[in-house]
Symmetry: C2
Subunit: 290 residues, 2 copies
Amino acid sequence: MFEKFIQKEKPFIEEKLFFYLDSLKIPGVLYEAMKYSLSAGGKRIRPFLAIAVSQLLNKKKEVVMPYACALEFIHTYSLMHDDLPALDDDDIRRGQLSSHKVFGEDIAVLAGDAFNTDAFSILFEHGKGNFQQGAGYLAKAGGGRGMVLGQIEDCTVPEKERTVDILNSINLLKTAKLLMASTAGTALWLDSGKESVAALEKYGLNLGLAFQITDDILDIASSTEEFGKTVGSDASSNKVTYPLLVGLERAEEKAYDFSKKAVAELGAFNDSEWKDVLVELAEYAVRRKK
Amino acid sequence: MFEKFIQKEKPFIEEKLFFYLDSLKIPGVLYEAMKYSLSAGGKRIRPFLAIAVSQLLNKKKEVVMPYACALEFIHTYSLMHDDLPALDDDDIRRGQLSSHKVFGEDIAVLAGDAFNTDAFSILFEHGKGNFQQGAGYLAKAGGGRGMVLGQIEDCTVPEKERTVDILNSINLLKTAKLLMASTAGTALWLDSGKESVAALEKYGLNLGLAFQITDDILDIASSTEEFGKTVGSDASSNKVTYPLLVGLERAEEKAYDFSKKAVAELGAFNDSEWKDVLVELAEYAVRRKK
């Protein structure tokens, strides 16, 4: 059911992503570079989560689309900068050349910067009523206390010092924070109550940890073709990831454990079609093959 | 008088910059890298402008300090990314080693990213009442329709195609937009009327153009020691700047012209001590030696 729902929403999500990008009226090569990276596809999990939360909370999905778009802008810029030669030095992203290979490093840095700032442009221009808390949640999750701090830890913690606790911390910051913004941040954007926000925050946290461990497992197990990025790019740079540290089997167990915890948090909500979708998404996070 | 005022405000500005940086509770090397670049000094023109505008409009300066801080965060990240090897490749910034020389390129990219995002964290966390318009003005001025677009044009417009009009466009986007955010954006943050905002916007625009042309003149004329960055770094990379295109004398005339236009816009405000300060700042923009 989850696949059906995400397939159904994807054209709507992408229409909105380009609607908001185009609304900025950015000209020339900067627009081309932003469009290229935003077009690269991917699962659009973050905007999809925002829509799912809006439906779970019985709100109109149109209302969350500026926020959903800001989430994808922040995610997109982080991939563009992460692929730079000075960081992960990846030439391939989602099965196509990464931004710096097509447009050059200077443009890749700057187009990423534009996505970062203009995520907030979109929020300021379309935020209504009590939008401040949800937008602030995204800024906190994306910046130096969240995703960027995770990137820094990933760049600087020596491989031999990495324990399961340290990997959990990196995964929390690098991956889960933005998923928490996609769930709890969306609920705040919709001015929802504390209990809903708290449950969705823990759902996003556990979903993020499950996703990241599964990514690391797939990075070892799958081929370039299947996974859409240079396989073993983390392993070949001697990065210690979850499966390398505890073995494939225990890593899979751990991912399933986080997935189950995510599902359990949904007990806070009444049964509905979209609650089932969120349950399935947490299950999909660990059973996907790419 | 202007120098006296800026000297008097500078310790207050810097206390607030580090207060807001520290309020984020960012740990480790990310904090060190952010602190290093924020400590590098500079004239703190943007926060000073925000304070000057608050005083011109008879508001408490405390109220604009989160916004003043966000302006300096955005300015600081732009310098950090601009200095990267893939962009201007400058090893020296404000008389000290640039971020990527001290912390490495990866950290310089990421610490810049954190400043960009967390500028907005500060605004969301401290914005009161109708803060949305002022904060949105900053995001628009900083992103792909403003400063970043100016950087892109500066990276991509071939030197031989650069006319005075094109240089004006680059200077407007790269430099003036953030000064317009410092003046008009601050007025919006303070929920001021349209006329004040419009006059301050044109003041910031002309001040920015005057500043940038003077920077280009000084880049040619002064020594490294005096100017605090590698002299001729633009010229040595064969960059066509204003004085190279029209000659030093006409460039100086043009800078004075923009300065006078800036001053003229202040006619919209009643006489006051702080109006005089803004007049002097526009004059300082073109007569400074560094």
